[in-house]
């Protein structure tokens, strides 16, 4: 069985997807991303669209260039677990972020010990547009 599986693995050529078509899709999606960036949409719409476009490109690369679509279905488990965990990581930080500010430059507690100065950075000067 080992020999059969190995030999069949050698002899089966990747008939493969149309890589040029995938390349064109990726190029078009990149162009659309740049268009969305330049359009000046409301922030929520812009962020949502850009994330969706980025993930579409990532899925195309994973499925067709990395051949995930042609591999055994179970291999996708290895690929999908980090996506699930990182998404969970992002969302689990939201309650902390939305209920309080992490980086407050104007700290309410007055700093009296000079040794603590470095731990509480001063607010940067106002941004000057070029």
């Amino acid at each position: 069985m080992t020999t059969q599986a190995a030999i069949s693995g050698h002899e089966v050529e990747h008939s493969g997807p149309n890589y040029i078509a995938v390349f064109i899709y990726l190029s078009v999606l990149t162009a659309v991303e740049l268009g969305v960036y330049a359009m000046g949409l409301p922030q929520v719409a812009k962020v949502g669209l850009l994330i969706a476009l980025a993930w579409a490109k990532a899925v195309l690369v994973a499925m067709y260039f990395m051949h995930l679509a042609m591999e055994k279905r179970a291999l996708a488990i290895i690929a999908i677990i980090p996506v699930i965990l990182v998404t969970f990581l992002c969302f689990m930080l939201l309650p902390d972020l939305t209920t309080r500010m992490w980086t407050k430059f104007d700290h309410p507690r007055p700093v009296t010990n000079p040794a603590e100065m470095g731990a509480h950075p001063v607010a940067p000067p106002p941004m000057q547009t070029p």
């Binding site: 069985m1 080992t2 020999t3 599986a5 190995a6 030999i7 069949s8 693995g9 050698h10 050529e13 990747h14 493969g16 890589y19 040029i20 390349f23 990726l26 190029s27 990149t30 991303e33 740049l34 969305v36 960036y37 812009k46 962020v47 850009l50 994330i51 476009l53 980025a54 490109k57 990532a58 690369v61 994973a62 260039f65 990395m66 051949h67 591999e71 055994k72 179970a74 291999l75 290895i78 690929a79 980090p82 996506v83 965990l85 990182v86 990581l89 992002c90 930080l93 902390d96 972020l97 500010m101 992490w102 980086t103 430059f105 950075p121 607010a123 940067p124 941004m127 547009t129 070029p130």
Partner: protein, 207 residues
Amino acid sequence: MSEAAAVETHEHGAMQADQLEPSLTPGSLGKLGMWSFLAGDAMTFGAAIAAYGALRIGNPNWPSPAVFLGITTTAIMTFILICSSVTMVEALGSIQTGRMARYRNFMALTVLGGLLFLGMQAFEWHHLLGEKGMSIKVDLFDATFFILTGFHGCHVFGGVVYNTVLLIRGMTGKLTQAKANLVEVAGLYWHFVDLVWILIFTFIYLI
């Protein structure tokens, strides 16, 4: 039975002796190993990007990326990396079908794409460090930018080295059609590097 097993393992080049047959990637232990490594690397990048997102959302003073970061250079870099992914997958297809000259050409183009990307990244960093006065020590915006793009750049550099070794082995005749699996494994890493850049480009430069 052990003699028969030894004969079996010597008959094909994909599997070394005394190796188990991976059920997820039959005939290629290297592919399974690379996917496992990429899962861990994806967690590292994901954690870094999540931390960047948390710091950015939690800070009302975060500057708009458009103030500091140009899009033109990075858009070209993105396109170059996508092209290099195409040339990589064409190189794989070439060596799998025994077309070694075509493999060498496409692998050389892949290496060239990686070098171009690194060169443009170095150019951009030089511009940001010099003219814009950005530095990893200045503030969180700069620190997260340089850490994320630098960490990715290190991955690209590693991939360029990896692909160069395979290119040289192809040119010296040490890499043959029977060992096409090695190129497939390298391709997985290179496409992952491209995939991560797609996400970094979106989250740091565009959003």
